[in-house]
Symmetry: C2
Subunit: 400 residues, 2 copies
């Protein structure tokens, strides 16, 4: 079933300009699509619009040491520094930095906030100059292909003709695969972690629950909630809670929480958060709404749902990687039931079918899908080894 087809969508007309609302974030901003608007997969034209990105390390003279990190659904460009809103550590701080697995003494690391995001790249909370109001649901639908197309413009702006590596977990893996498939000549190696070449029915189902939770909140108001500064926080928190369960494993929850009670000796025979797991989930919901826009959540989950690399090739995945010069390293985690190993294996089979260079490791861990964000020494070792080998092959002088 073709779902990502470019055919049959024939919008042309005026380009949609996007005026950013968030302009004071640390890092870099770039206006794209000013001269030539970007054509989205939906057929709509976008531009001018802003993307925000962050970099770590120094780009070397021949611009060969760049690693593009692609963030996940609720991630952002603050990979290796404190989050400017929450003050919490960067989401890959344990992996990216001087002397770390992705060594910023050697590599120039780039991370772009995805289109439709809410950390400085064009999204539904930005202003539509045609109306002077925030877009809400009038923002055009963004696909993974569109996110990557915008990233490509950033990479070209930096004068980089080939990224040494593209890497990401979860939705970041989807972007990594899209990069390798769409712009193979621009990617030396690709490292999709805990990913998939398409979103499964079960994952679409969980996303739909999250969206319905947001849309059921009267404060969502059809997406038009910005004026009142009264966001659908309860709906978004429920969406986050449901999603959060899918990021962990049954056994991790059992080990971490079991049936332990929260600050009490006995159950209270009521609806308080008697159990630690309840208290933990409520906290996850509450803290998420401080940093995330509900409409962005709708848009980005939808982008993931629509992702299906094989769709353009009559539901065959191998042609998506035909003649690929890219060196692939796939990583999955045993207890990840959201993006299970079978999804990575499907990609490996497709890569094998076109004789691509591919390495694949399934890491034994209890941490579930979130393993790609956690301290996983085996994962770090595999990644480190692959990067070192690829750097040698690429003759990257400074790579340690």
């Amino acid at each position: 079933m073709t779902t990502n087809s470019h055919d049959g969508v024939g919008h042309t007309g005026e380009s949609i300009a996007v005026e950013p609302t968030v302009t004071d974030l640390p890092g870099h901003r770039l206006v794209l699509g000013a001269d030539v608007p970007m054509r989205l997969v939906s057929g709509q034209l976008l531009g001018p619009f802003t993307v925000s990105y962050q970099t770590y390390g120094v780009l070397n003279a021949d611009k060969s040491n760049a690693i593009l990190v692609c963030h996940a659904l609720t991630g952002d460009q603050y990979v290796a520094e404190s989050h400017p809103v929450t003050g919490r550590p960067g989401w890959w701080e344990r992996l990216v930095g001087p002397g770390l697995t992705i060594n910023t003494d050697d590599y120039f690391v780039i991370c772009v906030n995805v289109l439709a995001g809410c950390m400085g790249s064009a999204g539904p909370k930005d202003i539509d100059p045609r109306t002077g109001k925030q877009f809400g649901l009038n923002f055009p639908l963004i696909t993974i292909t569109d996110m990557v197309a915008a990233q490509r413009l950033v990479v070209e702006h930096l004068g980089i003709t080939q990224l040494f590596a593209v890497i990401g977990g979860s939705m970041g893996a989807m972007q990594t695969l899209e990069w390798a498939s769409r712009y193979p000549e621009m990617v030396y190696c690709a490292i999709p972690i805990a990913g998939a070449a398409r979103h499964s029915a079960q994952n679409i189902a969980f996303h739909e629950v999250g969206r319905q939770a947001i849309m059921a909140d009267p404060k969502w108001a059809g997406g038009d909630y910005y004026d009142d500064n009264d966001a659908p926080e309860r709906g978004l928190a429920v969406a986050r809670m449901a999603a959060h369960i899918t990021y962990l494993s049954d056994s991790a929850l059992h080990t971490k929480f079991g049936r332990n009670l929260q600050d009490r000796q006995a159950i209270t025979f009521g609806f308080d958060a008697d159990f630690q797991i309840e208290s933990y989930l409520r906290h996850q919901g509450r803290s998420f709404v401080e940093r995330f826009d509900a409409n962005s959540y709708l848009y980005i989950t939808r982008a993931m749902d629509y992702f299906d690399l094989a769709a353009e090739y009559n539901d065959n995945l191998p042609p998506a990687f035909e003649d690929s010069p890219v060196r692939f390293c796939l990583i999955s985690f045993t207890s990840d039931w959201l993006f299970p190993t079978s999804e990575s294996r499907r990609i490996v089979h497709a890569l094998n079918a076109v004789a691509a260079s591919v390495s694949f490791v399934e890491i034994e861990t209890e941490s579930g899908h979130d393993a790609f964000l956690l301290e996983e020494p085996e994962f770090f070792r595999i990644l480190s080894g692959f990067l070192r080998g690829a750097a040698d092959q690429r003759k990257l002088a400074s790579a340690s």
Copy 2:
């Protein structure tokens, strides 16, 4: 961690009377706790209160052929006939009836709507005579133990001293285990299907998401929504959608829906139900709210969360079945990730440790937790064989 302790809860005081709001349902009604109120696990006293139940087949002369069927979270007493509200087939119509696996030509089948339910047994939508208003969250918290205690009163009212069998899936399995543990002399054989002796952290987490979805709906109004006849339908629908995913398996969803589109040729680049799985889930949510009370959903999910048979025994499960004369037959399903086989195995280990009579079969199926409600020939065969053997042993004359 003791969570089901009877200690430390010392309510006495007045008994809580419950006036039923629903009185026109098919089947039987019984007023309980009129003379001697029932003491709930919470310590509160309940009575008089009504339970509704349904029966199929004929109780034999020595009252030895009764099978108590325990329903699941959103089930009810309409096991083997059309549902009086929805008109849909009874939830175990393919299993219970004349000539079927649970043959009502041979057995007298009883099913009681659980306490806190909304199909005629005392629950939060009933009237509190102290206020003349519907209870809402003022209804006392009900546990699985309380549900079973009420069922016991029904069984005694029918003059039955020993049930030939107690059987149920999911929360019905919890009740079955509670019966076998609490009233072993009243149970000849017990058949817990797709069950567990405690609710896991992951399952508590999913329930908490459902409850938060209901409570996030402003129409829930702290549980006090009955007067306006304007129930928190959107919140309840979201809760049902999230739960429904857990009843199925990833592979069943893949087989049944995959990424198929709903009545369209291409994605619409929007938030409509493009995918069949979305349309299906929305339908599940919508149709559920027609027949279920949101507060009942809160109460019954909470009862499941609190269930932990080992809690009274210092977190040891075997003592819950010490010297049990009950013949157990446990059944689990390979693709059930909500009540996985490991939970049944834990019960089997406990039963083995006290040398109880136990048979255990894991059925190979793709249908997930819902398998116990579906056409599963192997399941039916196992059940049929076990019942026949037990009936022979019990010397039930009329059992075929």
